[in-house]
């Protein structure tokens, strides 16, 4: 999913083609290539950032952070829940919502088959998990989008689970946490329905907000396209893990449009912090405690 269109025809077409690609594409960083997510099995693993061989247990002990350079490895939704919530407090909501294939979409592979394959591979039913749990004995609503499932992209199920969770958080006056990991943005395979989930989830957040709810948005590598351009950017407080790729248009699309080298660190957490779009960069090990502190400050 990382090959991007480049268009060498007239400038108008180049803009239209690559601009259109903006929301849904997924990309490796144009300047510093990003590595495949997932840690290979085995005792040792290679850090894609510092290239050191790392004893797996050392990284695991540090919430999957490279002990040498601080690189944040991919973590799955279940692992993330374990890291953030008090042990054994998670109860999943809306697990009974399952994706279908409303467009009968097929590219090289039929979407229906892709779904089955992804479900089997990731053991998830779709790209997000939502539910209730405790953080330092405070009850919260929490949603995680997992970039392993069709690039963490948002289709109908992701949108519906998030919207239901937000509504429930509003009814029960719970603080709300969404950890985003989505290179895919709005899911192409469900077409316009995916695009509309952006409006649906944002509208649910607007209602939650007007009830005084506290929403903490955590951005992880990568958070792009339609996910970045909806709920992920709407937190009362927005955290990002270090060096995550965060942006709207994929770096290759931007590069193809402007035909210039991208600046160093373009669309990283640090870039967003510098430009004023996130509150704090929070290394993973500190995430739980910082979330707890914000909830405490806001009296939730």
């Amino acid at each position: 999913m990382s090959t991007l269109p480049t268009n060498s025809s007239g400038s108008a077409d180049a803009v239209s083609a690559s601009a259109g690609a903006a929301t849904s594409e997924t990309v490796a960083n144009g300047t510093t290539p990003r590595k495949k997510r997932g840690i290979p099995e085995g005792l040792w693993l290679r850090c894609p950032s510092c290239r050191n061989a790392i004893f797996r247990k050392d990284a695991d002990k540090r919430s999957k952070i490279c002990p040498e350079c601080g690189y944040h490895f991919y973590v799955s939704a279940p692992e993330r829940l374990e890291q953030i919530l008090d042990s054994g407090t998670f109860e999943e909501w809306d697990a009974n919502l399952l994706p279908t294939d409303p467009l009968s979409f097929a590219d090289k592979k039929a979407y229906a088959d892709r779904l089955k394959a992804e479900q089997k591979r990731t053991k998830m039913t779709d790209a997000c998990v939502t539910g209730g749990g405790m953080i330092r004995a405070r009850r919260v609503a929490i949603g995680i989008t997992d970039s392993a499932f069709i690039m963490g992209s948002m289709g109908s199920v992701v949108g519906e689970r998030l919207a239901r969770m937000i509504e429930r958080a509003g009814e029960q006056n719970l603080p709300l946490i969404i950890v985003s990991g989505s290179g895919g943005g709005a899911r192409m395979h469900e077409g316009i329905l995916s695009l509309m989930q952006m409006a649906k989830v944002s509208a649910a957040l607007a209602r939650y907000h007007s009830k005084g709810g506290l929403f903490i948005s955590v951005l992880t590598n990568p958070t792009m396209g339609g996910v970045a351009a909806s709920f992920a950017s709407l937190g009362d407080v927005i955290f990002a893990e270090p060096e995550a790729l965060i942006g709207f248009a994929g770096p290759r699309t931007v590069k193809a449009t402007i035909r210039l080298e991208l600046p160093e660190g373009f669309q990283t957490s640090e870039f967003l912090l510098e430009h004023g779009f996130i509150d704090r960069i929070v290394p993973r090990e500190g995430l739980k405690s910082e979330i707890a502190r914000v909830i405490d400050y806001c009296g939730k």
Partner: protein, 328 residues
Amino acid sequence: MDALPPGLAFEEPIIELEEQIRQLESADDAQSGKNVTKIRKLRKELADKTKEVYDNLSPWEMVQVARHKNRPHTPDYLSLCFEEFMELHGDRRFGDDRAILTGFAKIGAHKVMAIGHDKGKTYQERTACSFGCAHPEGYRKALLKMKMAEKYQIPIICFIDTPGAYPGIGAEERGISQAIAENLFEMSQVKTPIICVVIGEGGSGGAIGIGVGDRVAMLQNSYYSVISPEGCAGILWKSHKYAEQAAGALKFTADELLKFGVIDHIIEEPLGGAHRDPHLAANRLRNFFLEELKALGQVPLEQLLEERYEKFRKIGVFLEQAGESQNG
């Protein structure tokens, strides 16, 4: 006759007939109508041919119509649908994005806030407005004017016509994601009626950034998609060349969107597309606005907002398995 862009080959027989008629007509000027019967026959043939071609447009061909260089753009409709338009510039933060126009307008007995993408016609215009790809300041300008409309209880009309939001360094630096997200968030609660209509290209986030409304309509030959067919082909087929297949797979035509419950209404275009008769297209658009303004004006505000929420809330297709949920 100019050479047709590759995707518009289906228009060839239509343009040929149009040309024949034009030639006969100009010959007739001098010779007092001796070709009248012939012209009448050709006109009939033209109408039939146009209908045949346009009734059978493939999704990819529809994209070409939506992008047609002569297709009416927002400024055309601003002057053809409204009695007057008073442009209001600027987002009060960074600049004035020419890719989105905003301002007061009058239509019948109504005052409205008109907002719409502009793609430009001449090369200079097209460059000035980035081919209709808005930067964050465009979305922020739109929101600012919507807030103003809310304050003075003026309904809002949005014309959507963009390939997508601008993919550039400045757009990212100034928070294009945040700007679109904020519009989705705010538009869901703006306390005045909002009517949105896709008049050409409804390009993903850039389109929905001014696309949350009480009524969402599309002109018959426009498209509204999560991603451009080229973009989709590039990612899923790994090559641009499959844009036509992607166009079919994405199900982004007005008919499909009506079926999915994403839009409420399709506005029929003049025979052969809006570019063949912009006045008629504008007239139909105007009638649609007048009807909807009247209808929405009678809905109490609280109900309006509730219905707007529900309208988007219920969009999505999924399977809900019984008896397995443990909802807290």
